[in-house]
């Protein structure tokens, strides 16, 4: 080893990151330490190594000193490894000769004392590893020129349209019978009060009409294989029992169907038939038959009203589930959110009192296409007073710690709508903080205030029907501290609207696994970087947009959807992707042909050459996890860029300060 090390010429570059690193780590001392290490030809520190001048420093040294390895001690490799690899490449050094040493996220930001010592150990390890790094070549493969968009809410619709408009093929998959998502359930949208359906339905129609979009509703993605640029997705198409190519959406079938069920679209406030479209503007305007309520299906052919009346003969009970496979270069995940179920918080009496409703239920009550035709009616009466409780299940450790971001604004919108529809109604907002941060939001807040809405700062402790005076008889009483007064108030109202948290879909974990993504602590899917890569994920080629990534309003969702489309297009339009060079390779001479590695590979990248009795790794399929490497009893498989030699050298040098000098034999 010693000879190798002395031959290597390593440059070490320590970044101050302003005061982010230099404020905690003594960069001069660390530079001095690095300078003393055998293989180090040069060690420098600089304020911002990622800046132009910082990069120029490295470039110049590579060129002037002929470095054969570079260590950059700065932020996480997840942040700037690509940057410094480019620097090496530009200076004529193979980019795989770079090692990043994380002294920010895993050192200066988390340690008050001992950060300098730890930085030295980490740098020593990186230098050691850098001595053994080998040049690698990346290969390019073509990209499948299509995108898969999962989820047909506003995020998915917007992303699909943009990719399709750019001339690329899009597969849009939606679980429900129609696209539209939560947005199509809303009545008006804040702060401009445009009608949600009015702005969304044209986009839905455009999706249906677009020659580049293949819409698959009532379908789910069940499997994803492959890698960036070359994904293979399997989509399960559930049987509608209605032939989409024949149906004209005339509606005679659901008019004649005698069987009813609660309408999911109307949050159970209204009813639909067993054959139904969820709402009149559904896209596609083709009904589905709900097998749990259709008597024809439940009782072997008794009924069949739809069959009889459909003039086109579109009803087809022989349909079965179908699997479709598509090849795409990029995937946009836009599966949205669920609404928190407030019945868990018994203190607010949701489900116990019929006049305690959720915000989404209120949207349906308020909507002209809703179960009441847009009349706000509970218990058969128009409420003269309404309490709106913010942060139900949000900003609460017991449920969701985060702020759901949209409730303050829609609560103001509700106040406006109630005051508009019910003459002289009193509206009370029970809020903790009013968060009106968006464009035009503060102005809307002012407007709502001027329209006669009462703001009570406090998180209500309960909603009760226990009256303690005449005024409270027959009312719901919202009990809350008015924190600005410092007194508990009892506010009698006719209706209470709860603003439940937006929460990750119940199956968010399954979705994360399906697309090989991570979840953040709150359960939403994790983006690659909170600020700079808001839609990219740890899985190259898969992007998350809209509320699947976290609660957000419509403008933010649309912006993210467009970002996702841009990312997908950038990937597809480039036409090719570079494959990871850090794959595993079999040393044929050493392979004993024991076949232990074969079943271990999750990508079936390892095949066996029976003639030569040797294992063989297909580099296009290998993703470089290294499971086979660690398992090979003959040590015949080498993990490029993570060789045994590199890692052992790294480990040894990491403990440079642990061994007394005399212990070295």
């Amino acid at each position: 080893m010693a000879e190798d090390k002395s031959e290597a010429k390593i440059g070490v570059y320590i970044c101050h990151c302003g005061s982010n690193i230099a404020g905690t780590v003594d960069v001069e001392e660390v530079t001095g330490f690095a300078q003393e290490q055998g293989p180090v030809a040069v060690a420098r520190n600089y304020k911002f190594m990622c800046s132009e001048p910082g990069q120029a420093l490295i470039k110049k040294d590579i060129e002037d000193l002929g470095l054969d390895g570079v260590v950059v001690a700065a932020c996480s490799p997840r942040m700037h490894e690509p940057t410094f690899r480019r620097v090496c490449e530009a200076a004529g050094l193979n980019p795989y000769r770079l090692d990043m040493c994380n002294i920010r996220e895993q050192c200066s930001w988390v340690h008050k004392n001992g950060a300098t010592e730890k930085a030295k150990a980490l740098i020593s390890a990186a230098i050691s590893r850098a001595c053994y790094l080998e040049p690698l070549e990346r290969r390019e493969v073509p990209v499948a020129p299509a995108a898969l968009v999962v989820g047909g809410g506003i995020a998915g619709i917007q992303a699909a349209l943009k990719v399709a408009d750019a001339g690329r093929k899009v597969y849009l998959v939606e679980r429900e019978p129609s696209i539209g998502g939560h947005m199509i359930q809303l009545d008006k949208t804040f702060p401009t009060l445009d009608c949600s359906a009015c702005i969304l339905t044209p986009k839905m129609a455009a999706v249906k009409a677009h020659p580049n979009i293949e819409l698959m509703t009532y379908s789910e993605v069940v499997d994803v294989q492959g890698y960036v640029g070359n994904f293979k997705a399997t989509i399960r198409r559930k049987p509608r029992y209605v032939d989409e190519s024949l149906c004209t959406g005339c509606g005679i079938c659901w008019e004649k169907c005698p069987w009813k069920a609660e309408s999911e679209f109307d949050c159970g406030l209204g009813q639909r038939k067993a054959i139904y479209t969820p709402f009149p503007q559904a896209v596609p305007n083709v009904p589905v038959i709900d097998p749990e309520h259709c008597v024809y299906i439940l009782r072997d052919g008794k009924c069949g009203a739809c069959l009889k009346f459909c003039e086109r003969g579109a009803i087809d009970f022989s349909q079965t589930e179908k699997m479709v496979e598509v090849e795409v270069g990029a995937i946009i995940v836009a599966t949205g959110y669920d609404v928190f179920d407030p019945s868990a918080m018994t203190r607010y009496g949701y489900t116990r009192f019929p006049n305690v409703i959720t915000s989404l239920e209120f949207e349906r009550l308020c909507n002209a296409t809703g179960p009441t035709g847009g009349h706000i009616v509970v218990n058969g009466q128009e409420p003269k007073s309404v309490g709106i409780i913010h942060c139900v299940g949000s900003r609460d450790r017991k449920y969701h710690e985060y702020c759901s971001r949209v409730c303050c604004m829609y609560a103001l919108k509700f106040a406006h709508l109630i005051r508009e529809k019910i003459e002289g109604a009193n509206v009370y907002q029970f809020y903790i903080d009013m968060r009106c941060y968006g464009k035009g939001f503060e102005e809307f807040y002012q407007r709502a205030g001027s329209e006669g809405v009462t703001f009570i700062r406090g998180r209500p402790a309960q909603v009760t029907d226990l009256a303690i005076n005449e005024q409270e008889q027959g009312k719901l009483v919202v009990v809350s501290e008015n924190t600005l007064v410092g007194a508990v108030m009892r506010v009698p109202v006719d209706m209470v609207i709860l603003c439940p948290a937006m929460e990750p879909r119940a199956d968010a974990r399954d979705v994360a696994r399906l697309f090989n993504l991570s979840q953040s602590a709150d359960g939403f899917l994790l983006e690659r970087h909170a600020k700079l890569e808001p839609v990219a994920t740890a899985n190259d080629g898969v992007f998350v947009v809209g509320c699947v990534q976290g609660p957000k309003d419509i403008p933010d969702t649309v912006a993210q959807a467009l970002a996702g489309a841009a990312e997908a297009l950038a990937l597809i339009d480039k036409g090719k992707v570079e494959l990871e060079a850090a794959t595993a390779v079999v040393d044929e001479a050493a392979c004993s042909g024991c076949k232990i590695c074969l079943p271990l590979c999750p990508y079936t990248a390892i095949t066996f050459n029976e003639a030569e009795k040797q294992a063989l790794i297909n580099e296009a399929l290998c993703k470089g996890c290294g499971v086979c490497v660690a398992a090979c009893p003959a040590a015949a498989i080498v993990a490029r860029h993570f060789t045994d030699q590199q890692i052992l050298a790294e480990v040894e040098a990491l403990l440079v300060d642990a061994r007394p000098a005399t212990a070295e034999v």
Partner: protein, 303 residues
């Protein structure tokens, strides 16, 4: 199942009827237990106002004794239960508290290691004995008796969390229904009765009691799961009435008292003569209720 039983101070004094009926009813159910030997006061709601350490160490001593007896510790007092489980919680959670508490306990020759299980009486009756066994014992169902179960407060976080919903518990309802009573649901069933405020700040304590009595409305009686609440709700009805501008005269019983009534146990064994608000009227109501239900049964009998 092996139990040691922790009576608590109120049950042996101001709420004697709780203790008497509890012993009688448990015997009727065939539950065998021994009294925790040499138990001491858990500190009620008073120790916390005097010394943090004592508010943990006093109950912890009882836990230590039960640990030594290697049995589940059962108590019929919600306040005691809460103090005990709180002591277990903090001694487990905080090493310094554990050390100091054991330093105190060493004075009485015991140590507490955080083991051992604590059980509430309702938990034992419902989950160990079982409502089916309770039902078998019922000889005089509480027909037509409208009973308001009072779950009490301090139980919220500590007590019911162990075996029922915290904010909206129903275990008590199930038990009362099994006894044949009509359960009255009312919004303040888990609201605090004021605890020792009835003694230290009468006007506030009685006000809270008044709210509870009023909320139970037209129930024939209130049944509690805590001897301290039993004392409060019974003893200050006059004062509460004066504050609320009304007159309260609603019998308040301990849960094992109504169980004993349904099991047909003698009044004296249930300490029914000790309740501050007389309970005799309840027997008449049950008799009337029984007559109605047997008449109804007769009418519906096929001819």
């Amino acid at each position: 199942m092996k139990y040691v039983y922790y009576p608590g101070c109120s049950a042996s004094g101001t709420s004697k009827e709780a203790e008497e009926s509890l012993q009688a009813a448990m015997k009727a159910l065939g539950v065998e237990w021994t009294e925790l030997e040499d138990w001491n006061c858990c500190g009620a709601a008073v120790a916390i106002g005097t010394s943090y350490l004592l508010s943990i160490a006093l109950p912890a001593r009882n836990l230590a004794l039960a640990e030594r007896a290697e049995s589940d510790l059962v108590t019929g007092c919600s306040r005691c239960f809460m103090n005990l489980i709180r002591a277990a919680h903090y001694t487990r959670k905080n090493a310094r508290v554990r050390e100091e508490v054991n330093e105190l306990l060493a004075e009485t020759g015991v140590q507490y290691s955080g083991k051992g299980r604590l059980r509430h009486l309702l938990d034992v009756i419902i989950n160990d004995v079982g409502l089916d066994v309770v039902a078998e014992r019922v000889t005089r169902p509480l027909d037509g008796l409208r009973v308001a179960p009072y779950y009490g407060c301090c139980q919220g976080m500590w007590t019911y969390a162990q075996f029922d919903s915290v904010e909206d518990p129903h275990c008590f309802d199930q038990l009362l229904a099994t006894l044949g009573a009509e359960v009255v649901d009312y919004p303040l069933k888990t609201a605090c009765c004021g605890g020792t405020l009835s003694m230290s700040r009468r006007s506030v304590g009685a006000n809270l009691i008044g709210d509870l009595l009023a909320a139970a409305g037209d129930a024939d009686c209130i049944v509690t799961a805590c001897p301290l609440c039993l004392f409060n709700l019974n003893s200050f009805q006059g004062e509460a009435g004066r504050i609320k501008g009304t007159h309260f005269n609603i019998p308040v019983l301990f849960l094992t008292q109504v169980m004993g009534m349904a099991f047909g146990l003698p009044k004296k064994a249930l300490g029914l003569q000790r309740n501050a608000v007389p309970v005799d009227g309840l027997y008449e109501k049950i008799a009337a209720g029984a007559a109605v239900s047997s008449a109804a049964a007769g009418a519906s009998r096929p001819r």
